[in-house]
Subunit: 255 residues, 2 copies
Protein backbone atom coordinates (compact mmCIF):
# COMPACT_ATOMS: atom_id res chain seq x y z
CA UNK A 1 0.00 0.00 0.00
CA UNK A 2 1.28 3.46 -0.92
CA UNK A 3 1.50 6.10 1.75
CA UNK A 4 1.06 9.89 1.72
CA UNK A 5 1.76 12.07 4.74
CA UNK A 6 1.59 15.61 3.45
CA UNK A 7 -1.48 17.53 2.26
CA UNK A 8 0.91 19.26 -0.16
CA UNK A 9 1.66 16.04 -2.01
CA UNK A 10 0.94 16.42 -5.73
CA UNK A 11 -1.48 13.46 -5.74
CA UNK A 12 -3.52 15.13 -3.00
CA UNK A 13 -3.67 18.37 -4.98
CA UNK A 14 -4.83 16.44 -8.03
CA UNK A 15 -7.58 14.62 -6.10
CA UNK A 16 -8.73 17.82 -4.42
CA UNK A 17 -9.49 19.35 -7.80
CA UNK A 18 -12.25 16.78 -8.25
CA UNK A 19 -14.42 18.83 -5.90
CA UNK A 20 -14.88 21.33 -8.75
CA UNK A 21 -16.81 20.64 -11.94
CA UNK A 22 -13.87 21.96 -13.97
CA UNK A 23 -11.49 19.55 -12.26
CA UNK A 24 -13.82 16.65 -12.99
CA UNK A 25 -14.17 17.60 -16.63
CA UNK A 26 -10.42 17.87 -17.10
CA UNK A 27 -9.70 14.45 -15.67
CA UNK A 28 -12.95 12.59 -16.33
CA UNK A 29 -12.97 11.46 -12.70
CA UNK A 30 -15.08 12.07 -9.60
CA UNK A 31 -14.57 11.60 -5.90
CA UNK A 32 -16.82 9.76 -3.45
CA UNK A 33 -16.48 9.56 0.28
CA UNK A 34 -17.58 7.51 3.28
CA UNK A 35 -17.83 3.75 3.76
CA UNK A 36 -21.43 3.46 2.54
CA UNK A 37 -20.86 5.10 -0.86
CA UNK A 38 -17.51 3.40 -1.45
CA UNK A 39 -18.98 0.00 -0.58
CA UNK A 40 -21.95 0.59 -2.91
CA UNK A 41 -19.53 1.54 -5.69
CA UNK A 42 -17.53 -1.65 -5.10
CA UNK A 43 -20.59 -3.89 -4.93
CA UNK A 44 -21.97 -2.53 -8.18
CA UNK A 45 -18.69 -2.64 -10.10
CA UNK A 46 -18.36 1.11 -10.54
CA UNK A 47 -15.06 1.99 -12.24
CA UNK A 48 -13.02 2.80 -9.14
CA UNK A 49 -9.45 3.86 -9.97
CA UNK A 50 -8.05 4.51 -6.51
CA UNK A 51 -9.06 4.06 -2.89
CA UNK A 52 -7.70 6.41 -0.23
CA UNK A 53 -7.95 5.44 3.42
CA UNK A 54 -7.00 7.22 6.60
CA UNK A 55 -4.27 5.19 8.38
CA UNK A 56 -6.53 3.96 11.17
CA UNK A 57 -9.36 2.91 8.81
CA UNK A 58 -9.71 -0.85 8.44
CA UNK A 59 -11.16 -2.02 5.14
CA UNK A 60 -14.07 -4.32 6.04
CA UNK A 61 -13.54 -7.99 5.18
CA UNK A 62 -16.55 -8.12 2.84
CA UNK A 63 -15.19 -5.38 0.56
CA UNK A 64 -13.79 -6.80 -2.64
CA UNK A 65 -11.14 -4.21 -3.59
CA UNK A 66 -9.43 -6.57 -6.04
CA UNK A 67 -6.41 -4.92 -7.64
CA UNK A 68 -7.51 -1.32 -7.10
CA UNK A 69 -4.61 0.93 -6.10
CA UNK A 70 -4.95 1.83 -2.44
CA UNK A 71 -3.33 4.73 -0.59
CA UNK A 72 -2.94 5.11 3.16
CA UNK A 73 -2.88 8.75 4.19
CA UNK A 74 -2.66 10.79 7.36
CA UNK A 75 -5.66 12.36 9.08
CA UNK A 76 -4.49 15.77 7.80
CA UNK A 77 -4.66 14.53 4.21
CA UNK A 78 -8.15 13.05 4.63
CA UNK A 79 -9.36 16.34 6.13
CA UNK A 80 -8.05 18.23 3.10
CA UNK A 81 -9.73 15.80 0.68
CA UNK A 82 -13.03 15.58 2.50
CA UNK A 83 -16.03 17.76 1.77
CA UNK A 84 -17.61 17.11 5.17
CA UNK A 85 -16.90 18.31 8.70
CA UNK A 86 -16.48 14.75 9.93
CA UNK A 87 -14.52 12.68 7.39
CA UNK A 88 -15.30 8.99 7.65
CA UNK A 89 -11.86 7.64 6.78
CA UNK A 90 -12.34 6.43 3.22
CA UNK A 91 -12.49 8.07 -0.19
CA UNK A 92 -12.50 6.66 -3.72
CA UNK A 93 -11.67 8.12 -7.10
CA UNK A 94 -13.96 6.86 -9.87
CA UNK A 95 -13.96 7.26 -13.60
CA UNK A 96 -16.85 9.11 -15.21
CA UNK A 97 -18.38 6.78 -17.77
CA UNK A 98 -20.34 8.10 -20.71
CA UNK A 99 -23.73 6.96 -19.49
CA UNK A 100 -26.50 6.23 -21.91
CA UNK A 101 -29.92 4.83 -21.17
CA UNK A 102 -31.37 2.05 -23.24
CA UNK A 103 -35.08 2.66 -23.65
CA UNK A 104 -36.96 -0.54 -22.96
CA UNK A 105 -40.63 -1.17 -23.77
CA UNK A 106 -42.75 -0.26 -20.72
CA UNK A 107 -39.69 1.24 -19.06
CA UNK A 108 -40.18 4.01 -16.49
CA UNK A 109 -37.94 7.06 -16.47
CA UNK A 110 -37.54 10.30 -14.54
CA UNK A 111 -36.39 13.50 -16.28
CA UNK A 112 -35.11 16.50 -14.29
CA UNK A 113 -35.48 19.96 -15.80
CA UNK A 114 -33.20 22.57 -14.19
CA UNK A 115 -33.33 21.15 -10.68
CA UNK A 116 -30.88 23.28 -8.70
CA UNK A 117 -30.58 21.93 -5.19
CA UNK A 118 -27.99 19.14 -4.87
CA UNK A 119 -29.88 17.51 -1.99
CA UNK A 120 -33.05 17.41 -4.09
CA UNK A 121 -31.30 15.88 -7.12
CA UNK A 122 -29.61 13.18 -5.04
CA UNK A 123 -32.83 12.40 -3.19
CA UNK A 124 -34.73 12.15 -6.49
CA UNK A 125 -32.23 9.60 -7.86
CA UNK A 126 -32.62 7.63 -4.61
CA UNK A 127 -36.41 7.83 -4.94
CA UNK A 128 -36.33 6.69 -8.59
CA UNK A 129 -34.20 3.74 -7.50
CA UNK A 130 -36.59 2.90 -4.64
CA UNK A 131 -39.58 2.93 -6.98
CA UNK A 132 -37.74 0.61 -9.39
CA UNK A 133 -37.47 3.08 -12.27
CA UNK A 134 -35.20 2.23 -15.21
CA UNK A 135 -33.29 5.48 -15.54
CA UNK A 136 -32.94 9.16 -14.71
CA UNK A 137 -32.05 11.92 -17.17
CA UNK A 138 -30.54 15.15 -15.86
CA UNK A 139 -31.50 17.91 -18.28
CA UNK A 140 -29.10 20.72 -19.12
CA UNK A 141 -29.16 23.23 -16.27
CA UNK A 142 -29.64 20.61 -13.58
CA UNK A 143 -26.91 20.53 -10.96
CA UNK A 144 -23.95 18.24 -11.73
CA UNK A 145 -24.38 14.59 -10.77
CA UNK A 146 -20.85 14.44 -9.34
CA UNK A 147 -21.32 17.36 -6.94
CA UNK A 148 -20.45 15.92 -3.52
CA UNK A 149 -23.82 16.77 -1.99
CA UNK A 150 -25.68 15.13 -4.88
CA UNK A 151 -23.58 11.99 -4.50
CA UNK A 152 -24.14 11.90 -0.74
CA UNK A 153 -27.91 12.34 -1.08
CA UNK A 154 -28.20 9.51 -3.61
CA UNK A 155 -27.03 7.15 -0.83
CA UNK A 156 -25.41 5.10 -3.58
CA UNK A 157 -28.43 4.88 -5.90
CA UNK A 158 -26.40 6.34 -8.76
CA UNK A 159 -24.66 2.96 -8.87
CA UNK A 160 -28.02 1.12 -9.05
CA UNK A 161 -29.70 2.62 -12.10
CA UNK A 162 -28.68 4.48 -15.23
CA UNK A 163 -28.28 8.23 -14.94
CA UNK A 164 -27.70 10.17 -18.17
CA UNK A 165 -27.55 13.84 -19.12
CA UNK A 166 -28.62 15.90 -22.09
CA UNK A 167 -31.11 18.18 -23.75
CA UNK A 168 -34.58 17.16 -22.57
CA UNK A 169 -36.23 18.00 -25.90
CA UNK A 170 -33.89 15.52 -27.60
CA UNK A 171 -34.71 12.95 -24.94
CA UNK A 172 -38.45 13.53 -25.30
CA UNK A 173 -38.10 12.77 -28.99
CA UNK A 174 -36.31 9.54 -28.16
CA UNK A 175 -39.06 8.53 -25.73
CA UNK A 176 -41.70 9.35 -28.33
CA UNK A 177 -39.95 7.14 -30.89
CA UNK A 178 -39.85 4.35 -28.32
CA UNK A 179 -43.62 4.84 -27.78
CA UNK A 180 -43.19 5.63 -24.12
CA UNK A 181 -45.75 8.22 -22.94
CA UNK A 182 -44.28 11.48 -21.68
CA UNK A 183 -45.87 13.17 -18.66
CA UNK A 184 -45.02 16.72 -17.64
CA UNK A 185 -45.72 18.11 -14.18
CA UNK A 186 -47.12 21.51 -13.51
CA UNK A 187 -48.51 23.34 -10.49
CA UNK A 188 -51.97 23.63 -12.00
CA UNK A 189 -52.32 22.68 -15.65
CA UNK A 190 -53.30 19.22 -16.80
CA UNK A 191 -55.05 16.58 -14.74
CA UNK A 192 -54.58 15.42 -11.15
CA UNK A 193 -52.03 12.60 -11.21
CA UNK A 194 -54.57 10.18 -9.74
CA UNK A 195 -56.72 10.56 -12.87
CA UNK A 196 -53.90 9.63 -15.23
CA UNK A 197 -54.76 6.87 -17.68
CA UNK A 198 -52.91 3.75 -16.55
CA UNK A 199 -49.85 3.00 -18.65
CA UNK A 200 -47.12 0.58 -17.75
CA UNK A 201 -44.23 2.74 -18.96
CA UNK A 202 -43.67 6.48 -18.78
CA UNK A 203 -41.15 9.32 -18.86
CA UNK A 204 -42.02 11.78 -16.11
CA UNK A 205 -40.59 15.32 -16.27
CA UNK A 206 -40.23 17.29 -13.03
CA UNK A 207 -38.85 20.80 -12.84
CA UNK A 208 -37.01 23.61 -11.16
CA UNK A 209 -37.71 24.39 -7.47
CA UNK A 210 -39.05 27.88 -8.17
CA UNK A 211 -40.32 27.79 -11.74
CA UNK A 212 -41.33 24.21 -12.40
CA UNK A 213 -40.92 22.60 -15.81
CA UNK A 214 -40.23 25.00 -18.70
CA UNK A 215 -43.21 25.80 -20.92
CA UNK A 216 -41.29 24.73 -24.02
CA UNK A 217 -41.07 21.25 -22.49
CA UNK A 218 -44.64 21.12 -21.15
CA UNK A 219 -45.86 21.78 -24.70
CA UNK A 220 -44.04 18.65 -25.95
CA UNK A 221 -45.50 16.13 -23.49
CA UNK A 222 -48.38 13.73 -24.04
CA UNK A 223 -50.10 14.78 -20.83
CA UNK A 224 -49.36 17.16 -17.97
CA UNK A 225 -50.29 16.31 -14.40
CA UNK A 226 -50.37 18.04 -11.05
CA UNK A 227 -50.58 17.06 -7.40
CA UNK A 228 -53.61 18.62 -5.71
CA UNK A 229 -52.84 20.93 -2.79
CA UNK A 230 -55.53 20.46 -0.12
CA UNK A 231 -54.11 22.88 2.46
CA UNK A 232 -52.65 26.39 2.33
CA UNK A 233 -49.14 25.56 1.07
CA UNK A 234 -48.27 26.99 -2.33
CA UNK A 235 -46.41 23.92 -3.51
CA UNK A 236 -44.58 20.78 -2.49
CA UNK A 237 -40.83 20.28 -2.37
CA UNK A 238 -39.82 18.83 -5.76
CA UNK A 239 -38.23 15.68 -4.31
CA UNK A 240 -41.35 14.97 -2.24
CA UNK A 241 -43.54 15.62 -5.31
CA UNK A 242 -41.43 13.17 -7.30
CA UNK A 243 -41.94 10.49 -4.66
CA UNK A 244 -45.72 11.01 -4.62
CA UNK A 245 -45.85 10.77 -8.42
CA UNK A 246 -43.58 7.78 -9.05
CA UNK A 247 -45.22 5.78 -6.26
CA UNK A 248 -48.70 7.00 -7.23
CA UNK A 249 -48.14 5.85 -10.81
CA UNK A 250 -46.54 2.55 -9.74
CA UNK A 251 -49.36 1.64 -7.39
CA UNK A 252 -51.89 2.40 -10.09
CA UNK A 253 -50.01 0.22 -12.56
CA UNK A 254 -50.04 -2.70 -10.23
CA UNK A 255 -53.69 -2.38 -9.30
CA UNK B 1 -39.77 54.12 12.63
CA UNK B 2 -36.88 53.38 15.01
CA UNK B 3 -33.40 53.17 13.59
CA UNK B 4 -30.34 51.08 14.53
CA UNK B 5 -26.96 51.57 12.89
CA UNK B 6 -24.58 49.48 14.94
CA UNK B 7 -24.38 45.69 15.15
CA UNK B 8 -23.26 46.27 18.75
CA UNK B 9 -26.59 47.79 19.73
CA UNK B 10 -28.12 45.92 22.68
CA UNK B 11 -31.35 45.20 20.75
CA UNK B 12 -29.32 43.51 18.02
CA UNK B 13 -27.50 41.37 20.58
CA UNK B 14 -30.84 40.36 22.08
CA UNK B 15 -32.32 39.39 18.70
CA UNK B 16 -29.23 37.48 17.70
CA UNK B 17 -29.64 35.20 20.69
CA UNK B 18 -32.83 33.84 19.09
CA UNK B 19 -30.69 31.77 16.73
CA UNK B 20 -29.98 29.45 19.66
CA UNK B 21 -32.54 27.21 21.33
CA UNK B 22 -31.44 28.53 24.72
CA UNK B 23 -32.03 32.11 23.62
CA UNK B 24 -35.50 31.21 22.38
CA UNK B 25 -36.40 29.42 25.59
CA UNK B 26 -35.27 32.36 27.74
CA UNK B 27 -37.34 34.91 25.84
CA UNK B 28 -40.16 32.77 24.42
CA UNK B 29 -39.52 34.33 21.01
CA UNK B 30 -38.25 33.15 17.62
CA UNK B 31 -36.85 34.87 14.58
CA UNK B 32 -38.01 34.48 10.97
CA UNK B 33 -36.42 35.94 7.88
CA UNK B 34 -37.14 36.81 4.28
CA UNK B 35 -40.20 38.43 2.66
CA UNK B 36 -42.04 35.15 2.03
CA UNK B 37 -41.97 33.90 5.63
CA UNK B 38 -42.71 37.33 7.13
CA UNK B 39 -45.62 37.84 4.75
CA UNK B 40 -47.04 34.39 5.59
CA UNK B 41 -46.76 35.21 9.30
CA UNK B 42 -48.62 38.50 8.76
CA UNK B 43 -51.33 36.93 6.61
CA UNK B 44 -52.02 34.23 9.16
CA UNK B 45 -52.00 36.51 12.23
CA UNK B 46 -48.93 34.98 13.82
CA UNK B 47 -47.96 36.89 16.98
CA UNK B 48 -45.28 39.18 15.48
CA UNK B 49 -43.73 41.48 18.06
CA UNK B 50 -41.22 43.40 15.92
CA UNK B 51 -40.29 43.78 12.27
CA UNK B 52 -36.73 44.65 11.29
CA UNK B 53 -36.00 45.93 7.81
CA UNK B 54 -32.82 46.86 6.04
CA UNK B 55 -32.94 50.59 5.16
CA UNK B 56 -33.41 50.04 1.44
CA UNK B 57 -36.18 47.42 1.86
CA UNK B 58 -39.63 48.70 0.94
CA UNK B 59 -42.52 47.03 2.77
CA UNK B 60 -44.92 45.84 0.05
CA UNK B 61 -48.25 47.67 -0.04
CA UNK B 62 -50.27 44.51 0.57
CA UNK B 63 -48.57 43.78 3.90
CA UNK B 64 -50.77 44.68 6.84
CA UNK B 65 -48.21 45.50 9.55
CA UNK B 66 -50.80 47.28 11.70
CA UNK B 67 -49.24 48.63 14.87
CA UNK B 68 -46.27 46.26 14.97
CA UNK B 69 -43.06 48.01 16.07
CA UNK B 70 -40.76 48.38 13.07
CA UNK B 71 -37.03 48.99 13.05
CA UNK B 72 -34.93 50.23 10.14
CA UNK B 73 -31.38 48.95 10.35
CA UNK B 74 -28.17 49.16 8.35
CA UNK B 75 -26.96 46.41 6.03
CA UNK B 76 -24.31 45.52 8.59
CA UNK B 77 -26.97 44.89 11.22
CA UNK B 78 -29.08 42.72 8.89
CA UNK B 79 -25.99 40.67 8.06
CA UNK B 80 -25.34 40.05 11.74
CA UNK B 81 -28.96 39.03 12.34
CA UNK B 82 -29.32 36.85 9.28
CA UNK B 83 -28.69 33.14 9.21
CA UNK B 84 -28.19 33.06 5.42
CA UNK B 85 -25.41 34.15 3.09
CA UNK B 86 -27.76 36.45 1.20
CA UNK B 87 -30.06 38.30 3.62
CA UNK B 88 -33.30 39.36 2.00
CA UNK B 89 -33.82 42.63 3.85
CA UNK B 90 -36.54 41.71 6.32
CA UNK B 91 -36.71 39.86 9.62
CA UNK B 92 -39.47 39.47 12.20
CA UNK B 93 -39.48 38.53 15.87
CA UNK B 94 -42.46 36.36 16.84
CA UNK B 95 -43.78 35.11 20.12
CA UNK B 96 -43.76 31.37 20.76
CA UNK B 97 -47.32 30.35 21.56
CA UNK B 98 -48.07 27.24 23.57
CA UNK B 99 -49.51 25.23 20.70
CA UNK B 100 -52.00 22.52 21.34
CA UNK B 101 -53.84 20.44 18.77
CA UNK B 102 -57.55 19.86 19.09
CA UNK B 103 -58.29 16.32 17.98
CA UNK B 104 -61.25 16.36 15.62
CA UNK B 105 -63.21 13.27 14.50
CA UNK B 106 -61.71 11.99 11.24
CA UNK B 107 -58.80 14.40 11.63
CA UNK B 108 -55.47 13.49 10.02
CA UNK B 109 -52.22 14.03 11.90
CA UNK B 110 -48.51 13.49 11.38
CA UNK B 111 -46.21 12.52 14.29
CA UNK B 112 -42.43 12.86 14.04
CA UNK B 113 -40.28 10.57 16.15
CA UNK B 114 -36.68 11.82 16.56
CA UNK B 115 -36.37 13.34 13.10
CA UNK B 116 -32.98 15.07 13.13
CA UNK B 117 -32.47 16.94 9.88
CA UNK B 118 -33.95 20.47 9.97
CA UNK B 119 -34.61 20.42 6.22
CA UNK B 120 -36.54 17.17 6.57
CA UNK B 121 -38.67 18.45 9.46
CA UNK B 122 -39.55 21.69 7.65
CA UNK B 123 -40.33 19.84 4.43
CA UNK B 124 -42.55 17.38 6.32
CA UNK B 125 -44.59 20.23 7.86
CA UNK B 126 -44.93 21.73 4.36
CA UNK B 127 -46.02 18.32 3.01
CA UNK B 128 -48.58 17.84 5.82
CA UNK B 129 -49.98 21.29 4.97
CA UNK B 130 -50.14 20.46 1.24
CA UNK B 131 -52.01 17.23 1.92
CA UNK B 132 -54.50 19.11 4.10
CA UNK B 133 -53.60 17.42 7.37
CA UNK B 134 -54.96 18.87 10.62
CA UNK B 135 -51.80 18.94 12.69
CA UNK B 136 -48.21 17.85 13.22
CA UNK B 137 -46.70 16.65 16.49
CA UNK B 138 -42.94 16.88 16.99
CA UNK B 139 -41.95 14.14 19.41
CA UNK B 140 -39.25 14.68 22.01
CA UNK B 141 -35.86 14.35 20.30
CA UNK B 142 -37.04 15.87 17.04
CA UNK B 143 -35.13 18.99 16.01
CA UNK B 144 -36.54 22.30 17.31
CA UNK B 145 -39.36 23.83 15.24
CA UNK B 146 -37.82 27.30 15.54
CA UNK B 147 -34.42 26.30 14.15
CA UNK B 148 -33.88 28.68 11.20
CA UNK B 149 -33.48 25.88 8.67
CA UNK B 150 -36.67 24.18 9.83
CA UNK B 151 -38.56 27.48 9.53
CA UNK B 152 -37.14 28.14 6.05
CA UNK B 153 -38.01 24.64 4.81
CA UNK B 154 -41.61 24.93 6.01
CA UNK B 155 -42.04 27.77 3.49
CA UNK B 156 -44.54 29.26 5.93
CA UNK B 157 -46.61 26.12 6.49
CA UNK B 158 -46.05 26.34 10.25
CA UNK B 159 -48.47 29.30 10.13
CA UNK B 160 -51.08 27.22 8.26
CA UNK B 161 -51.64 24.26 10.54
CA UNK B 162 -51.17 23.38 14.19
CA UNK B 163 -47.74 22.13 15.21
CA UNK B 164 -47.35 20.83 18.76
CA UNK B 165 -44.62 19.04 20.70
CA UNK B 166 -44.50 16.36 23.34
CA UNK B 167 -44.04 12.78 24.32
CA UNK B 168 -45.38 10.60 21.49
CA UNK B 169 -46.63 7.86 23.83
CA UNK B 170 -48.82 10.45 25.58
CA UNK B 171 -50.03 11.68 22.20
CA UNK B 172 -50.81 8.15 21.04
CA UNK B 173 -52.98 7.71 24.11
CA UNK B 174 -54.84 10.92 23.26
CA UNK B 175 -55.40 9.73 19.67
CA UNK B 176 -56.64 6.39 20.96
CA UNK B 177 -59.14 8.09 23.26
CA UNK B 178 -60.33 10.17 20.30
CA UNK B 179 -60.79 6.92 18.32
CA UNK B 180 -58.36 7.99 15.63
CA UNK B 181 -56.39 5.01 14.26
CA UNK B 182 -52.63 5.18 14.78
CA UNK B 183 -50.34 3.96 12.01
CA UNK B 184 -46.64 3.42 12.54
CA UNK B 185 -44.12 3.20 9.71
CA UNK B 186 -41.36 0.69 9.50
CA UNK B 187 -38.88 -0.42 6.87
CA UNK B 188 -40.30 -3.91 6.71
CA UNK B 189 -42.84 -4.86 9.35
CA UNK B 190 -46.56 -4.50 8.90
CA UNK B 191 -48.40 -4.21 5.61
CA UNK B 192 -47.64 -2.23 2.43
CA UNK B 193 -49.33 1.18 2.81
CA UNK B 194 -51.47 0.54 -0.27
CA UNK B 195 -53.17 -2.37 1.54
CA UNK B 196 -54.17 -0.26 4.51
CA UNK B 197 -57.85 -0.47 5.39
CA UNK B 198 -59.46 2.81 4.34
CA UNK B 199 -60.14 5.13 7.26
CA UNK B 200 -60.98 8.77 7.05
CA UNK B 201 -58.81 9.91 9.95
CA UNK B 202 -55.40 8.77 11.13
CA UNK B 203 -52.31 9.61 13.15
CA UNK B 204 -49.25 8.57 11.15
CA UNK B 205 -45.91 8.17 12.95
CA UNK B 206 -42.69 8.55 10.93
CA UNK B 207 -39.24 8.23 12.38
CA UNK B 208 -35.57 9.01 12.60
CA UNK B 209 -33.48 9.13 9.40
CA UNK B 210 -31.23 6.26 10.39
CA UNK B 211 -33.24 4.19 12.83
CA UNK B 212 -36.88 4.73 11.91
CA UNK B 213 -39.63 4.78 14.52
CA UNK B 214 -38.67 3.47 17.96
CA UNK B 215 -39.85 -0.06 18.77
CA UNK B 216 -41.57 1.14 21.96
CA UNK B 217 -43.78 3.32 19.74
CA UNK B 218 -44.34 0.74 16.98
CA UNK B 219 -45.70 -1.60 19.64
CA UNK B 220 -48.37 0.95 20.61
CA UNK B 221 -49.86 1.55 17.14
CA UNK B 222 -52.99 0.01 15.63
CA UNK B 223 -51.18 -0.96 12.45
CA UNK B 224 -47.68 -0.57 11.05
CA UNK B 225 -47.10 0.06 7.35
CA UNK B 226 -44.16 0.19 4.97
CA UNK B 227 -43.46 1.52 1.50
CA UNK B 228 -42.25 -1.27 -0.82
CA UNK B 229 -38.77 -0.79 -2.29
CA UNK B 230 -38.78 -2.09 -5.88
CA UNK B 231 -35.17 -1.19 -6.74
CA UNK B 232 -31.83 -1.55 -4.96
CA UNK B 233 -32.05 1.42 -2.58
CA UNK B 234 -32.09 0.53 1.10
CA UNK B 235 -34.67 3.12 2.05
CA UNK B 236 -36.36 6.37 1.08
CA UNK B 237 -35.61 9.81 2.49
CA UNK B 238 -38.05 10.31 5.40
CA UNK B 239 -39.62 13.49 3.95
CA UNK B 240 -40.22 11.75 0.61
CA UNK B 241 -41.67 8.72 2.42
CA UNK B 242 -44.02 11.02 4.35
CA UNK B 243 -45.25 12.55 1.08
CA UNK B 244 -45.91 9.13 -0.45
CA UNK B 245 -47.83 8.01 2.64
CA UNK B 246 -49.97 11.08 3.30
CA UNK B 247 -50.92 11.40 -0.37
CA UNK B 248 -51.33 7.64 -0.74
CA UNK B 249 -53.72 7.58 2.22
CA UNK B 250 -55.57 10.72 1.06
CA UNK B 251 -56.14 9.39 -2.45
CA UNK B 252 -57.46 6.16 -1.03
CA UNK B 253 -59.84 8.00 1.28
CA UNK B 254 -61.32 9.97 -1.57
CA UNK B 255 -61.72 6.99 -3.84
Amino acid sequence: MNRIESPRNSKVKEWKKLHSKKGREQTNCFIIEGPHLVHEALKHQAPILEIIIEESFRIPLDWDVGSITTWAVTERVIKVLSDTDHPQGVIAICEIEAEDIKLIPNGRYLLLDNVQDPGNVGTMIRTADSAGLDGVVLGNGTVDLYNSKVLRSTQGSLFHLHVAKGDLIDWINRFREAEIPIYGTSLQGGVPYSELEPSSGYALVVGNEGNGVQKSILSQTDQNVYIPIYGKAESLNVAVATGILVYGLSTKNEA
